[in-house]
């Protein structure tokens, strides 16, 4: 079994117009910036993008929005230190927004990966984000029913990867990456280093390979936060 591919272009080659794409990361940490930029190079359109945020500055998801790839964002927090790309597209009506509480977003993604079409949560009960959703009482407390959230593709960032697709992550860059890996039809991971099968201690695998379809090695990946602070613009 060998899930590795040699180039970023190969890694994202299947993603086409109108796809739903989960993108790992929380702000810049864990954002698969090289995969995102490779996707921008393909100039696909009409994507639904699922991420905690909605981009910062003019790189990564912000650049996807500026370059017209994104029709809809599903996120918890579209604000950032420089949200101009999102804000302009949203205010002009070019970009649809679905705001989801962060924990509900995480749980909807995990539910998709775990075969749970719907679950109940106390989060958002009594708020406008629960409008139109079924409410049920359990043990005297009210809960809102939420649906799973699936994607055609997940672009994620790991630290180590092996040919079986097993992954580790680096510190808080883990965040949404492992659960998005579970929830997409095809999961594409960039990793800092590919090791042989057995090169990751089975105790330390965070994403077992069953959740990962493609692995591409990007040694010394750039950090979105650093690009942003340099004022970088992509492409």
């Amino acid at each position: 079994m060998d899930k590795t591919v040699a180039t970023l272009a190969e890694a994202v080659a299947d993603i086409s117009d109108g796809a739903t794409v989960m993108i790992g990361g929380f702000g810049g940490s864990g954002a698969p910036i090289e995969l995102i930029h490779a996707l921008i190079d393909r100039r696909v359109k009409g994507l639904t993008v699922i991420n905690n945020n909605a981009g910062n500055g003019h790189v990564g998801i912000a650049s996807m929005i500026e370059n017209g790839l994104v029709a809809k964002m599903i996120c918890s927090f579209p604000r950032s230190s420089d949200p101009v790309a999102f804000t302009e597209a949203y205010k002009s009506g070019r970009l649809e927004l679905e705001v989801v509480p962060q924990g509900t977003l995480a749980e909807r993604i995990r539910a998709a990966g775990a075969g749970i079409p719907a679950f109940y949560t106390a989060t958002s009960y009594g708020t406008e984000l629960a409008e139109g959703k079924p409410v049920e009482e359990f043990d005297g407390k009210h809960y809102v029913r939420e649906r799973w959230l699936k994607a055609d593709f997940a672009l994620i960032k790991g630290e180590l990867g092996d040919p079986m697709g097993n992954l580790t992550y680096r510190m808080a860059a883990r965040n949404f990456n492992p659960i998005m890996a579970m929830a997409a039809t095809k999961t594409i991971a960039q990793v800092s280093r590919i090791v042989p099968a057995g090169g990751i201690d089975p105790e330390q695998v965070i994403s077992p390979g069953i959740f990962v379809d493609t692995v591409v090695e990007i040694p010394n990946p750039v950090q979105e936060e650093v690009l942003f602070r340099e004022g970088a613009v992509y492409p």
Binding site: M1, R110, A112, G113, A114, G115, I116, D162, P163, M164, N166, M182, P196, A197, G198, I200, P202, E203, V205, P208, G209, I210, F211
Partner: protein, 227 residues
């Protein structure tokens, strides 16, 4: 009613036949007992990845006697070994793999399989002690659910039936049955005979099958090596 005991395949041979359909790189869960034998007949050059409910992906055969580590077991509580690239995870993650539809194949045993794909394999009914394990999870969610079984019970009664009389494990879930006499698919609510032992006539096979066997005209010989 005869059970064709003299010509029927051994469990090893049934397992061998089931193994031929497991693709390279497939993620596979094998039920406790007889289905576990399928792993022994993995086709040369293919490397399926075996999953066990208790939290291991990528395990290998049993260790040599005396080499067992009882923290490293499969769902049948038998000692196993690890292959390179294995991973450990907890039970909720393990069943996320199962229930999230990430397994390519689950192969289970059966008390009865009905022509609509219903499976009964967990409880013989009132009076017995019920024990379901992961069977109900596997049959509802694996991409392909297959059964390995004798074609008839020890008493010679059909295990392929028009409707299960025993408590169900899952509804409309089985798509292929590897028996001691035949390979039967379930399509559109019918048994479709794909392969049969060449010594048996179609009528012979129908006589020990509880639902109607259909064909789409081509019935191959069920040919397996001596094992």
């Amino acid at each position: 009613m005869t059970s064709f005991d003299d010509i029927k395949l051994s469990n090893a041979q049934i397992a061998w036949r089931a193994a031929q359909d497991i693709e390279d790189g497939a993620y596979v869960n094998l039920g406790i007992g007889f289905p576990e034998m399928v792993a022994q007949y993995t086709v040369e050059g293919r490397t399926p990845v075996f999953h066990t409910e208790n939290g291991v992906l990528g395990f290998g055969p049993a260790p040599a006697p005396g080499e067992e580590d009882w923290d490293l077991i499969n769902a049948g509580k038998k000692a196993i070994t690890l292959k390179p690239g294995a991973a450990f995870f907890h039970h909720a993650d393990s069943f996320a793999m199962v229930r999230g539809g990430h397994l390519d194949v689950a192969i289970l045993g059966a008390f009865q399989v009905a022509e609509n794909g219903d499976l009964a394999n967990w409880s013989t009914g009132k009076g017995s002690i019920p024990a379901v394990g992961g069977a109900m999870d596997l049959v509802q969610s694996a991409k392909r659910v297959a059964v390995v079984t004798d074609h008839v019970t020890k008493k010679g009664e059909p295990k392929l039936v028009d409707r299960c009389s025993m408590p169900l494990t899952g509804v409309a879930c089985v798509t292929r049955i590897y028996t001691s006499l035949a390979v039967v698919d379930i399509e559109g609510g019918h048994f479709v005979l794909r392969e049969k032992l060449p010594q048996l006539s179609f009528d012979d096979l129908q006589s020990v099958t509880g639902g109607e066997l259909k064909t789409d005209g081509r019935i191959a010989d069920l040919a397996v090596p001596t094992l």
